[in-house]
């Protein structure tokens, strides 16, 4: 990456950090000096989030990823950040085809025509780290080729270093800082995963193996011979968007069965196998006209610690069956800790979540409302430690619940396990 670009990115990040400081700190000092209560910060949060969003849209790359990450952490950040930064979609303008061609040829050490009979110049999709092109191998098979942007690793390194610096300054200046550093470390790990396409290939193979006994689940086959750390060649599969109810019905598919299948797939990955595709947004899931479900994008596939699935199951089960002592045990076993050590805090949190469900009870579905309530309860003080895996899994179930509700269905985790016959 050119020095000028690097400098521009560093300065932009520093400028944003300074603007945020000005937004928050002088009013805080003034209140303290004048012994006035702290004013409501909702508007300040909103302005800060918009400031960050503008920088992200300008700089793209890892900043976009950071914003997406913040938008999923309602356990740490106030609601205005979540609402504003949710708009930070991954779609970015594509790189010119010449750049992509050069990247592929350099990675495969061959001219494009030595591998592909056809290669669409227009991408199927473009995101912050890579873009995908439709192509056809010399053997005739239609494939999707995911190509990492050539300078992205440098950009990531620079941006992460800048953000780390900004975080340190923030932690130094703020007596009660938000826990941004762990979030940044988590983001660093996740981006590392996403930049390694061979890891993604391994993850896809692992999930395909998990469903070897279920011909209704499709994970695109990877062409290992043409895949590298920065280029991934996979079977081209697609289908109907799982959120397009009329298209599903027009194809003769029952949306209820589609949701049931989606839930079964994710429950099996998360609770039973402890290894899952952690990004089930509607762009990564399709229903084929014959009812098979396609799962794409294993860049963020994640391994859960041993016993996590059983622990999460126990938590949901205890909530469903109103068993408070089991709830407390499950929260603890998952790694939650309270500030006071009072176990009733967990029961209160669970009650608040249940109150946000339509029936006032937990019936096996983690809705977005319930997840929001959980994180709001956590943010309000009593819990000091929330396992990051739990946050990720709760987000996955909330996304699936969103898909289910779009189709007029419910995303019941326990039902997907076979609890209700």
């Amino acid at each position: 990456m050119k020095l000028a670009t690097r400098l521009h990115r560093s300065l932009r990040i520093a400028r944003t950090a300074a603007a945020l400081w000005i937004l928050y700190k002088p009013p805080e000092y003034a209140s303290r000096l004048l012994r006035r209560p702290q004013p409501d910060r909702t508007q300040t949060h909103e302005r800060a989030a918009r400031l960050i969003l503008r920088s992200a849209l300008d700089l793209r790359g890892v900043i976009i990823k950071l914003c997406q990450s913040v938008a999923t952490r309602s356990d740490v950040f106030p609601p205005p950040f979540i609402h504003v930064l949710k708009q930070c979609h991954d779609a970015v303008p594509p790189k010119p085809f010449d750049v992509i061609r050069a990247a592929v040829e350099s990675e495969l050490a061959k001219p494009l025509s030595a591998v592909f009979a056809e290669f669409d110049e227009a991408p199927l999709a473009s995101a912050s780290l890579a873009q995908v092109h439709r192509a056809r191998l010399l053997g005739g098979e239609r494939v999707a080729v995911k190509v990492q942007y050539p300078d992205i690793e440098d950009i990531v390194r620079t941006d992460l270093a800048n953000m780390r610096r900004a975080c340190r300054v923030y932690e130094f200046l703020d007596p009660q800082p938000l826990a941004l550093m762990p979030l940044l470390e988590e983001l660093t790990t996740h981006i590392g995963f996403e930049l390694d396409f061979l890891r993604e290939a391994d993850s896809a193979d692992r999930v395909r193996g998990l469903f070897a006994d279920d011909d209704r689940v499709v994970v695109p086959r990877i062409h290992r011979e043409w895949s590298t750390r920065r280029v991934l060649v996979m079977e081209l599969v697609g289908g109907l968007k799982v959120t397009d109810k009329s298209a599903l019905e027009a194809a003769g598919l029952d949306p209820g069965v589609v949701v049931q299948d989606l839930m079964r797939i994710f429950v099996r990955m998360i609770l039973a196998a402890g290894f899952f595709q952690a990004d089930p947004h509607p762009g990564n899931l399709f229903a084929m006209p014959d009812g098979r479900i396609v799962v794409l994008d294993f860049g963020l596939a994640k391994e859960l610690p041993e016993g996590f699935g059983l622990g999460l199951f126990e938590l949901m089960f205890s909530m469903m069956t109103l068993n408070e002592s089991a709830m407390i045990r499950a929260f603890r076993e998952l790694g939650f800790q309270t500030k006071t050590g009072d176990p009733n805090t967990f029961v209160q949190i669970a009650r608040r979540m249940m109150e946000r469900s339509e029936t006032g009870r937990f019936e096996g579905e983690f809705t977005e409302d319930m997840t929001d309530e959980l994180f709001e309860a956590i943010r309000e003080d009593p819990v000091v430690s929330v396992p990051s895996d739990f946050v990720l899994v709760a987000r996955v179930f909330a996304l699936l619940s969103g898909i289910a509700h779009t189709l007029g269905q419910r995303a019941n985790v326990l039902e997907a396990m076979g609890a209700r016959t």
Partner: protein
């Protein structure tokens, strides 16, 4: 005392609160550090939870059924497949240090027991409108909010008390000293492939919710009756000092569970017998004998439970076992010794609820 017993058997109507009420206990049941339901009376005898009124109520409904000339249905025990691995096989494995399949089996039993709580969510339609004869003063009239709720609480625990799920876990942890739980437990529980989205209806002429209710009750009844074999297996296994680190407390827990389960079997067979003795309204304004419907449903359930499922479960357990033996580097001779202890079993050809029999009301 005799007078009280007589008046008990004459009383047929109870409130939900009464049917959920427990006897006062002198000491609580604490298992593996978890406060569980039930407790001990002054003589140290175990008292099942929520039976203060539920037990006499069930006896009263059964007595009424008998007075009305109806029979109490029996699920034939000979249809119950033997436990696999059986007690001798399980003991052999544990003695040989291959504990994982047994720990997995006990964990799955605890989860399945807990899932019994979903009975509280079974929709009970307006039975008075769907059944020709009156149902006041029957078990049927006490399902919603009372018998189902008591059943659910017994299985999964409620508020600050553990239920059968936690009691099975405690028995496992006592016997095997908090063993490592195999990571594939939930995978085994989920099984293979997918389930059909909608169950095919056997009696489309009756109300759909009524058929769903009767099917669920029949399934749960069969599971509860067959579970008696699991309890006997658990008690025999965990009471053996060669296998269990805490033979008495572990086996006692299973014994308590077995005694708590008895009201479940009794109220379910009473309610189904009450339906069997009545006529159901069909959707076209006609009627059908309750016996035809209940026996037809029971036949279907028993045929599935006594033939296909045990075979599949057996295959799954055997596969786990072979893997466990291989992982432990155990010789094939152990597998041969294990197989030699197998209980031969052929499912009976008849369920006792065959349709031709069912048709003769």
């Amino acid at each position: 005392m005799a007078t009280a017993a007589n008046s008990e058997t004459e009383r047929l109507v109870y409130t939900s609160e009464e049917l959920l009420e427990s006897d006062a206990c002198e000491a609580p049941l604490v298992a593996g550090g978890v406060r569980c339901h039930g407790g001990f009376d002054a003589e140290g005898a175990y008292r099942s939870p929520r039976t203060r009124y539920r037990a006499p109520a069930i006896r009263a409904w059964q007595a009424r059924l008998k007075r009305d000339g109806a029979t109490l249905l029996e699920v034939p025990r000979e249809l119950m497949p033997p436990q696999f691995p059986n007690v001798a096989q399980a003991k052999l494995l544990v003695r040989e240090g291959v504990r994982e399949p047994i720990v997995r089996a006990l964990t799955i039993i605890s989860i399945v027991e807990g899932f019994g709580a979903i009975i509280r969510d079974v929709e009970v339609p307006d039975l008075g409108a769907l059944i020709h004869e009156p149902i006041a003063g029957t078990a049927l009239a006490h399902l919603r909010g009372a018998l189902f709720e008591a059943h659910a609480r017994d299985e999964s625990g409620y508020r600050d008390e553990g239920g059968h799920k936690q009691m099975w876990e405690a028995a496992r942890d006592l016997a095997f000293e908090k063993p490592r739980i195999p990571g594939d437990v939930l995978m085994r529980l989920m099984g293979r492939g997918r389930r059909d989205a909608k169950r095919e209806r056997a009696f489309p002429q009756i109300d759909e919710k009524l058929e769903a209710l009767l099917s669920t009750m029949a399934q749960v009844l069969v599971v509860e009756v067959f579970a008696m074999g699991t309890f006997a297996w658990g008690e025999a296994l965990l009471s053996d000092p060669e296998v269990s680190a805490a033979p008495k407390p572990a086996a006692d827990l299973i014994r308590f569970i077995r005694s708590d389960e008895s009201p479940h079997v009794e109220y379910l067979r009473t309610a189904l017998s009450e339906v069997r003795a009545r006529r159901l309204r069909t959707q076209d304004g006609g009627e059908i004998a309750g016996r035809t419907v209940v026996d037809g449903i029971l036949h279907r359930v028993l045929r599935a439970v006594a033939s296909e499922r045990p075979k599949q479960q057996r295959e799954d357990v055997r596969r786990d076992l072979v893997a466990a033996l291989q992982n432990a580097g155990r010789p094939e001779s152990l597998l041969e010794a294990f197989e030699a202890l197998a209980t031969p079993w052929t499912p009976p050809a008849r369920t006792g609820f065959e349709p031709p029999l069912a048709a003769s009301v």
